[in-house]
């Protein structure tokens, strides 16, 4: 192909303004790290991050919504789906930041180590603690991750998608390793996440290269056109390309058999970061998967659909069954998030507009639940460290009825009991699947049986909190500060409202369920 003459790309600034704001906020955050005095850094960073996210959200509502378009030379598309997902990402990450900001009366954010580079248990760590160090750089890192997620869901070609994938992943690798307590576990999780994440990125990149070879372009639309018009010479590249790119995305989603990082990382990462990852990474990855599957390679879905069906079924079954044997709250929620990923995949596999709407709704509903749930997990302590072992939760309902009650409600929502958003979401994802035919119906049957298994797990936890006698006296739920209280309250309220009167959110999700080609 001859080199084209250079042309400056057209940028629709209104459309991409939210991303620019987040990027600017992140850069300012780095400057704050460098120049602001240590005492006020935490406060400044929290305000800066939250306001950045909210400003981006407001701009998204006011301007970007008006200018849905393909911009930046076709590499970024701002359409209903990506606007909805960006909005969801901004709101949920703002809530997650509020949870991260929890200090419980300490100097810096409570969940994060004072000094990430110090050896765990060393004198240097003690010194850092005494000197009042704090890793307030997690806030700009969060903003970078959010930026990557926004790029990921708006990417219209495979290279942009890859850039988004890396921008969102790298900060998360770092943040995973910054836990204040059980630091070795945290660092191990970070390393695992980094190595496996690196592999999956490589898979994605290789798949993207094959697809480029097939279509002569990384543009999703061009790939789609190539599939329907191609002569057949390079057909051998298509299916491997699709499979490899999907492997990369399914890794981020946490689908079986690419899930093995999920429990370790969820357990090792600082709890608020786990909440952030569970809610936002899932949204971003599913956004990219939707676009790839529907816009890019949908035309030859007969070739790969069965594979994805098997992955969805495995994800639901393995996620549900393995959650039964967990003894750690965070690992339990990790396996539950795997099972939920399977439920969402069922909606993706409906291959209909209603399916997209269902997936969008599910992602948001799950995001709000999970941010609030991890916010609560972070509050329950024994002897200063997080009481994440299930036995430590025994009898929590007696001593902390409000905390346990809220958590029990969220668990019921995870289980998909009616009158919670979990049920509405499950219905929204499953109904299009049943409508799509026999395969979808079989998946839904597997899905409801898996739901019953996960429900058993959640109920067991409720039993533990309410009906079991406490084992030790020193398990307490710390009193949260205003920011994380706000975050948890919003999460719970959305879960209630979207369960009882989901009309508005469903309208939003279904009106946003059209891709702009």
């Amino acid at each position: 192909m001859p080199a084209a003459e250079f042309q400056a790309v057209q940028v629709d600034y209104a459309a991409v303004a939210p991303m620019l704001i987040v990027a600017a906020g992140a850069l300012v955050g780095v400057l704050v790290e460098a120049f602001a005095p240590r005492r006020s850094r935490h406060r400044i960073q929290v305000w800066l991050t939250t306001l950045t996210l909210l400003a981006a959200f407001v701009v998204l509502l006011l301007w970007s919504r008006e200018s849905m378009t393909v911009t930046l030379g076709g590499s970024v598309v701002v359409d209903g789906v990506s606007l909805f997902l960006m909005g969801a990402l901004l709101v949920l990450s703002a809530l997650a930041v509020l949870v991260m900001a929890e200090r419980f009366g300490g100097v810096g954010a409570d969940a994060f180590t004072p000094m990430g580079s110090s050896t765990p248990g060393s004198a240097q760590e003690d010194t850092a603690t005494r000197a009042g160090y704090a890793t307030s750089e997690v806030f700009p890192l969060t903003l970078f991750a959010v930026l990557g997620m926004m790029v990921f869901v708006t990417a219209n070609d495979l290279i942009t998608m890859f850039v988004g994938l890396e921008v969102l992943s790298l900060p998360l690798y770092v943040m995973t390793g910054l836990a204040r307590r059980r630091r070795l576990l945290s660092q191990e999780a970070a390393l695992k996440y980094f190595l496996l994440g690196g592999f999956s990125s490589a898979f994605f990149l290789f798949g993207a290269a094959l697809l480029y070879g097939y279509a002569g372009s990384g543009d999703l639309e061009a790939i789609s056109t190539a599939i329907s018009t191609a002569s057949g010479d390079l057909d051998g590249l298509l299916v491997p390309g699709v499979v490899l790119t999907m492997v990369g995305l399914l890794f981020k989603i946490g689908a079986v058999p690419f899930h093995s990082w999920t429990p370790d990382v969820y357990q090792g990462a600082p709890t608020p970061v786990t909440g952030f990852m569970a809610a936002c990474t899932k949204i971003a990855a599913f956004g990219a998967l939707l676009r790839l599957a529907y816009v890019g390679v949908g035309a030859n879905r007969w070739d790969w659909e069965m594979g994805l069906v098997v992955v969805a079924a495995l994800t639901m079954v393995v996620g549900a069954v393995l959650s039964v044997t967990q003894t750690d709250v965070k690992r339990l929620l990790a396996y539950s998030s795997i099972a939920h990923a399977g439920f969402i995949l069922v909606g993706v596999l409906a291959f209909s507009q209603a399916g997209i709407g269902g997936v969008l709704f599910y992602l948001v509903a799950y995001g709000f639940m999970t941010v609030a749930a991890f916010g609560i997990v972070a509050m329950v302590r024994q002897g200063g460290s997080e009481a994440s072992h299930l036995s430590q939760w025994a009898g929590l309902g007696r001593r902390h009825p409000v905390v346990a009650g809220t958590f029990a409600f969220l668990l019921l929502a995870f289980a998909g009991i009616p009158l919670t958003s979990g049920f509405t979401a499950k219905y929204a994802a499953f109904a299009p699947a049943v409508a799509s035919g026999t395969t979808g119906t079989v998946l839904v049957v597997i899905g409801v049986l898996a739901s019953a298994v996960t429900a058993f797990v959640y109920i067991r936890l409720i039993v533990l909190m309410y009906f079991t006698d406490p084992t030790g006296d020193d398990v307490v739920a710390l009193v949260p500060s205003i920011p994380s209280t706000v975050a948890i309250t919003v999460g719970v309220l959305v879960t209630v409202v979207a369960g009882i009167i989901p009309g508005l959110a469903l309208d939003l999700a279904s009106s946003a369920s059209e891709f702009l080609l």
Binding site: F423, A431, V444, L449, R460, V463, Y466, F467
Partner: protein, 512 residues
Amino acid sequence: MNAVPLLTLMVVVPLLGAIVVAVLPGNTARLAKPIALGASLVTLVLAVLAVASFDTGSTEQFQLAEVRPWIPQFGVSYALGVDGIALALIVMAAILTPVCLLAAWNDVTEEGSGREKRYFALLLVLEAFMVGVFAATDVFLFYVFFEAMLIPVYFLIGMFGGPRRQYAAVKFLLFSLVGGLVMLVAVIGVFVAGPGGGDGFLVENLTGNLDASTGALRWMFVGFFVAFAIKAPMWPVHTWLPDAATESRPAVAVLLVGVLDKVGTYGMIRFCLQLFPEASQWATPVVITLAVISVVYGALLAIGQTDMMRLIAFTSISHFGFIVLGIFALTSVGGAGSSLYMVNHGFSTAGLFLLAGFLVARRGSKRIPDYGGWQRVTPVLAGTFLVVGLSSLALPGLSSFVSEFLVLQGAFMRYRVAAVIAAAGIILAPLYILLMYQRLMTGPKPTFGEAEAPRDLSLRERVVVAPLIASFLLLGFFPKPVLDLVNPAVERTLQFVGVSDPTPALASGSDQ
């Protein structure tokens, strides 16, 4: 038509009562129980008003109807309405709730006012959901109530039950959840096969309007039926009931077995028969067989029990067998008998559970061998127990006899062998009831050692039992009001199924 949304009020009043009871501050906690009772009595008054404004000659299937869009995106409406069967069951629930609240008056008094408030609040929440589930005329709304109902019951068993309460509560929840989730697939399937649109889940829009292959419709039928069979409960998915019944408080057991389980049999009439006529007829041989097995199996196991509560639970399994037999006989006599039986069984099981509960409260044991000769100590308790037991074994003149007779007559018209075998259940019933009475009440006067001899029924307890016994006599000698209420609904259901009675000359006997 009525401008006042009576059915909604009957859901809202107990819910409001529950909220008030739950949030009462500590120093006014003693008001909790009167408020709870008051809320349930107001609901009862509303139920009476609903009966008064119900027109048995109406051509509409559902009366007192309220339809508002709820989630139009899913085709879901907030739609309530009753036919005769639903109304009869709602009235039964509205009568049983205050009775149970009164019976449960001192259940948890010693455990602190906080727990007491929660107990009564949960009972009221349960009442609200019970009314809702019977009144829902939208399949999705029905499903929501059906599942949401599990939560208060789960907590009532798990927090306030006996020593193995956790096991029983989890078992109950898992059985129900599995059934419910399987039903969810069928619920989605019904919508997909139905006309769709913003009110595509309304029963009246779905009836006779399902566009799917015979095979698909049969699968959907199975989805619904499994959920209802677990709820009812029928053999072989009954095993949760004895555990749940024996581990819960008597009042909770009454609402669980007497009212909640009726959702299963009611659902068979409303959804299985009405929505899937062809599949219902296809499944009838299997269902009838299961029903007959339930009748005999429940009765035989009841005879062998030494735990009073388990015994009563097994009698219920037997009785539910009769109810299902009557429903799937697909005759108007059988249907009317089943509908009446649902009401009668509610009252007679309530009597058995509550009186057994009074006994347990005096002696502190559920084991039958721990008793004996109590008619000499507590004559009124023994006497009422005998009456309730006789009603349960279907003595002529007491209510269950009428319904059991109708069920067998209706079944005999179509399935002679099944009816004959089921009749064995009637012969076994005296065995388990009278044996229990004999072991509990007759024999030499028991000695209580140092302890004071137990007192006979208190005034509160008599007030609890009186309406139940009155209902046995009333419905035993004069079942016409209830039959008049349910007959149009039964006939309409049979029209939907598209069957008529094989020998009409016999069928007319039931209307006399």
